[in-house]
Amino acid sequence: MTTSALAAPATGARTELRATGGRAPKGENRAGWLFATPFLVLYVLFLIGPVLIGVAISLFNTTTVTSGVGSWVGLSNYADVLSSGDFWASMWHSVLFTLLTTPLLVLLPLLFAILASRIVRNQWFYRLAFFAPYVVPSSAVCLIFAFMYTPQTGLITNVFGWFGLTAPNFLGSTSGAWFAVVLLTLWWTFGFNFILYTAAIQDISEEVYEAASIDGAGPWQQISSITVPLLRPTMSLVLILQVLASLKVFDQIYILLAGGPNYSTRPVIEYIYDTGFTSYRGGYAAAATMVYFVILVAVSVGWILVRNQRAAAARRESTR
């Protein structure tokens, strides 16, 4: 599970400091720790723990078959990972998947959420159609799409024929495989972003639109000069959530293609899985994990820094 309320920080932390200013009464101190302890224990054991264990075993030539850490190898696992063509190839596949899916999954749901906001009736129907796939397990999605991608007899293969096109070999060629995975992902996760946009649109005050329409603004003007600018912060949130989610792709590619054909779509997580659990090179896979981990954290931190800078700039702008 990804926790992705990256936006919460700024507002929460500031109000918190105020509350801790005074010295706490003795009973409260004890009660506070008792209430927080179950969370903290699980948090330290199972969220912080794996990070530390990952760092530790990445410095040993641990194997996944036997227990025990093996012998100290220093940073040589990192040197191996960073010079491995397979690692960077899989890193590129995750990035490519992100580049292919992010524009579609940031812009299309925005477009449809805006269209949906102009329609009063049947909102439940759009929500049902677009959002229902989100609650379906990845493997069920893959089973259904694998069936629809079947050469000759599959539904999607035949739809290509209706338009006079030849369907690519969805599961047997690299380009076909990317098409297959991207289309599946679009269908599966579209609704999530759609819901985020829909909620943000509902928060825009009705009066802004009324004022605009009295001034004679047509629907297109209302959308381009009110809705879209006011949705910028939501777009930025959807963008970072999507980038992080796409960089962590595993399920679809693993189940539908097993990273194939010939490893040409294998994402990083599957590379780690293969080296760690199929080749049993635990220490090496842990080093790969840490490199990947640092990249993901850097993306989140980078986004937060950019956002705070923008917010600060906007504040300066408004006080001037």
């Binding site: 509350a19 035949n158 269908w187």
Partner: protein, 295 residues
């Protein structure tokens, strides 16, 4: 923007009748929008319907007329053979137990932590707060390998606990509860304290009953995420009978191109429970996603 809006409920239909004086152009535009949207929504439903239709047709008919959306011989045979050929019943049971445990523990543990952060002044509170905040950025699914090593050392591999325990300390759930509990009037809590209630009583009798919307948001989303979790259960649950629905179903992928009806019947069975939950709680689920951004 995220965890703050939980108490606001029923955003469903604030937007009826956009403008006082609908312009002709606006009407035409809206009609076009409705057409476009309905068309796409129907396309979005096709994979569900196609799986359902296929699961009810006999295999020989599917291979003879793959594109025909009706059958001369509707039947449930594929469901019987799907049920018999793989332990779907067990997968249901495992998924249900794991998700339920995850929900109960997440709600209790995270709401307790949030309660402490809001109402109890304890030393080191801001450090704890910062730690949980930092946890929002922790990409846990990238860490399955060290996590696996840890659970092997703890001898918990293959158990429900291996799936449940790492899911419980969920930073975003703490922030959902935190935002909600902050909205509860302090006077209520002070009154209870003056009456001599212990902090535990304040938490369990005063605060939690008022937190129902936050509880349902966290519970629903924890249930969906843990029901659908794939990679970690795949690594941990290696015996077919101990697997969950997503892990078990993924093993049937080879059949998608051979035993059409049976494979589609299995996926329909895999989809059903959560789809039923979704149909019942559509609005709450959408609300919860919008407020927490759990992905």
């Amino acid at each position: 923007m995220t965890a703050t809006a939980v108490p606001a409920t029923g955003t469903g239909r604030r937007r009826s009748g956009r403008s006082g004086r609908p312009v002709e152009a606006g009407k035409a535009f809206n009609r076009l929008a409705a057409t476009c949207l309905t068309l796409f929504a129907l396309i979005w439903l096709v994979p569900f319907l196609w799986a359902l239709i296929t699961s009810l047709r006999p295999d020989n008919e599917i291979s003879a007329h793959p594109m025909r959306p009706w059958s001369n011989n509707w039947n449930l045979d594929a469901y019987r053979s799907a049920w018999e050929s793989s332990p779907i019943g067990w997968w249901y049971v495992n998924s249900f137990i794991i998700s339920t445990l995850a929900v109960v523990f997440t709600v209790v543990v995270c709401s307790m932590a949030a309660f402490a952060l809001v109402h109890l002044g304890f030393r080191g509170k801001s450090a704890v707060f910062a730690l949980i905040l930092a946890g929002l950025m922790l990409p846990t699914e990238a860490l399955v390998l060290p996590q696996f090593m840890e659970f092997r050392a703890l001898h918990l591999l293959g158990t429900y606990w291996a799936i449940v325990l790492p899911a419980v300390a969920l930073p975003v759930a703490v922030f959902v509860f935190h935002a909600f509990i902050k909205g509860i009037p302090v006077a209520l809590i002070e009154a209870a304290r003056l009456d001599g209630a212990s902090w535990w009583r304040v938490y369990s009798v005063v605060v939690m009953p008022l937190c129902r919307p936050a509880i349902s948001a966290v519970a629903i989303l924890t249930f969906i995420t843990s029901w659908n979790a794939f990679l970690w259960p795949l690594l941990v649950l290696t015996h077919v009978k101990t697997q969950t629905i997503p892990v078990g179903l993924s093993g049937l992928i080879g059949g998608a191109a051979i035993q059409y009806a049976e494979t589609m019947a299995s996926s329909v069975l895999g989809i059903l429970p959560l789809l039923a939950v979704f149909l019942l709680l559509q609005r709450q689920i959408a609300q919860g996603v919008a407020n927490t951004g759990i992905k």
